[in-house]
């Protein structure tokens, strides 16, 4: 068999694990061979003999010799991921799926709307875009979390807010006395933006309910359906458009997605669950 085996993972070394919040950790890995992917694509990570699950990297797509993935403890495999200490060998298959079309984003104002652990894959997009900031008119980043403590990447935001091309707004559903930013759901931040919604690009990633209300609010504000990019979460096993688990109508989300524009999927059943 000289042809590539699509089911066989490549070896990655887990260098270290950083705790972001009680349920979220970031895994720093080094691939055996340089690993290329594009922002928006995902990988399947195997814990040897335990299981495999899909994640979008949270590090820049420009970095080929390292990869970071931020993972929320949500099920059997992610629970096992959280038990890893660093030093283990992991298996990685991919990259799979569609990317954010950065050439379409060029010259435009780009809104990045994220909630909870949905900020993780968006970090990949933001870091990738900020490698060439001059390509984009402005990045409006609106992030939300349940409480101030639930924000992942605590050290990152100061640097991000200081970037000349970035307008960073954050909200916490429930604030505490230390919180000086917005209190309430993340969609409230959209009302604070002074932009031309009719020409802007919007990228949304987060829990289903946030994606749903975020998208509806963007539409109300005048963002075009074809300019709203959604990263869909589905049960995925193979990542190759074969196993059927991620079927959504006539799409396999793993292959045709996970990044779709709202107008591509708005008529499909159950897109928000």
């Amino acid at each position: 068999m000289s042809e590539k085996n699509i089911y066989k993972p490549q070896k990655f070394k887990l260098d270290k694990v950083v705790t972001e919040s009680p349920l979220i950790k970031t895994f720093f890995m080094t691939p055996k061979h340089d690993f290329e992917f594009e922002a928006g694509q995902f990988v399947e990570v195997t814990i040897d003999g335990i299981g495999e699950a899909p994640y979008t990297p949270s590090s820049s797509a420009w970095v080929k010799d390292k990869m970071e993935i931020t993972i929320m403890k949500a099920g059997y495999v992610t629970d096992k991921m959280h038990q890893l200490q660093g030093g283990e060998i992991l298996g990685v298959r991919g990259p799979f799926g569609s990317k954010y079309p950065l050439d379409i984003f060029e010259g435009k104002e780009v809104l990045i709307l994220g909630g909870g652990v949905g900020i993780a894959p968006l970090r990949c997009l933001i870091l990738t875009m900020l490698e060439q900031p001059e390509r984009y008119k402005k990045l409006h980043i609106c992030f939300g979390a349940r409480t101030p403590q639930d924000f992942i990447y605590k050290e990152w935001y100061k640097k991000l807010a200081a970037h000349e091309r970035v307008n960073l707004l954050r909200s916490a559903d429930k604030a505490d006395e230390s919180w000086t930013e917005t209190e309430g759901v993340v969609t409230l931040l959209l009302d604070k933006l002074e932009v031309d919604f009719s020409t802007m690009i919007a990228v949304v990633c987060g829990p289903p309910i946030m994606m749903r209300f975020g998208t509806y609010r963007l539409l109300e504000l005048g963002v075009k359906e074809e300019n709203i990019y959604l990263s869909m979460e589905k049960n995925m096993s193979c990542g190759l458009g074969k196993c059927g688990h991620c079927a959504m109508g006539d799409y396999f989300v793993c292959k045709d997605g996970p990044v779709f524009t709202y107008d591509e999927i708005k008529d499909y059943p159950n897109i928000w669950i």
Partner: protein
């Protein structure tokens, strides 16, 4: 067209010598059901050529129930005798999925390459058979290596692939009498079975009409009614020649087992956070029909039902796909 007319005795001696090189499977009758069994010399005389379709679909040879898809395995050269046209038609879709240019499944590819298929006419039909409703014929026309018919005197072998030509010449069957077309009675029998099937299923809508019926959003009660006896066992998918869903199961050493799975199982689409688009039983039942008649035609240009009727025969809840579809017409 080139058809070799092979007397029964010569055919049997061909099978005898075949067994020295190839692992061979053929249909046998056992307790009133027909299924593939491995052929051994003593059983050559009892191959059940009059079969309609084996219980097991052809897919099991190319897409086994469980297959280790990381560890390289030694694949055997196999010959399958007596595959019906419905199962051969299913190969179009299975090949589109597993042999696609972007993500080629080398295990499926090797299984396909190592298998020589003798497709066979159906000499009757089961109660649930409905291939002609979807434009297929109860005799093979494609997707096999040799098309095989028979009457009381001879076997008629028409090679339609390079592999088919090769296997017949390897054993000298190309030296047998050559016909330009099938004998009248054999052709006549084909047409009789076809028209019997047309008559048997005259009320069943064609694939396009079926698509419109299963896509209708006002039939929730119909799906709920038929789902009442569904126990989510997945037998309908297991015996379906086109159902291709699977789950990768991990084994130590980064090995992965490609294991049959089905959208009829609870949790098939459930994500870790708990959301599940197919949580309700009736939505799972309907999903299988939508997949076959609506989604797959959009994705691959053809429906994912070849009318073999096995899902009707296998259902322990006695859910009859054809009755459900005809009820939707009302």
């Amino acid at each position: 067209m080139k058809i070799y007319s092979v007397p029964e005795k010569r055919w049997n001696s061909f099978l005898q010598s075949l067994l020295e090189t190839y692992r061979t499977y053929a249909p046998f009758l056992k307790y009133e059901t027909v299924d593939y069994e491995e052929l051994i010399p003593d059983k050559i005389d009892s191959i059940y050529y009059a079969s309609v379709k084996p219980t097991t679909p052809l897919k099991i040879f190319h897409f086994p129930v469980k297959e280790n898809v990381v560890k390289a395995t030694q694949k055997e050269q196999r010959i399958i005798i007596g595959t019906p046209a419905c199962d051969l038609a299913a190969l179009d879709l299975m090949d589109s999925i597993f042999l696609d240019d972007e993500f080629l499944d080398i295990y499926y590819k090797e299984n396909r390459e190592n298998t020589i298929i003798f497709g066979k006419d159906c000499y009757g039909h089961d109660e649930s058979c409905h291939c002609t409703s979807y434009g297929l014929t109860p005799y093979p026309q494609k997707n096999c290596d040799v098309i095989m018919s028979y009457d009381e005197n001879n076997f008629y072998l028409q090679p339609i692939s390079g592999k088919g030509e090769k296997i017949l010449s390897e054993f000298g069957l190309d030296k047998e009498e050559t016909l330009e077309e099938l004998p009248y009675d054999v052709s006549k029998k084909r047409e009789t079975v076809k028209s019997d099937l047309d008559k048997h299923n005259q009320k069943l809508p064609d694939s396009e009409a079926t698509r419109k019926l299963v896509e209708r959003e006002d039939k929730e009660e119909l799906w709920k009614k038929h789902a009442k006896t569904c126990v989510s066992c997945g037998a309908c998918s297991t015996i379906c020649p086109t159902c291709h869903c699977f789950l990768l199961i991990d084994r130590v050493g980064f090995e992965k087992i490609k294991n049959w799975d089905t959208c009829q199982h609870p949790d098939f689409e459930r994500v870790a956070a708990g959301e599940d688009p197919l949580q309700k039983l009736y939505t799972r039942l309907r999903n299988r029909y939508l997949c076959k008649y609506s989604y797959k035609p959009d994705m691959f240009g053809e429906i994912a039902c070849t009318g073999c009727g096995r899902c009707i025969e296998a259902c322990i809840g006695e859910i009859n796909k054809n009755e459900l579809i005809m009820e939707a017409l009302e």
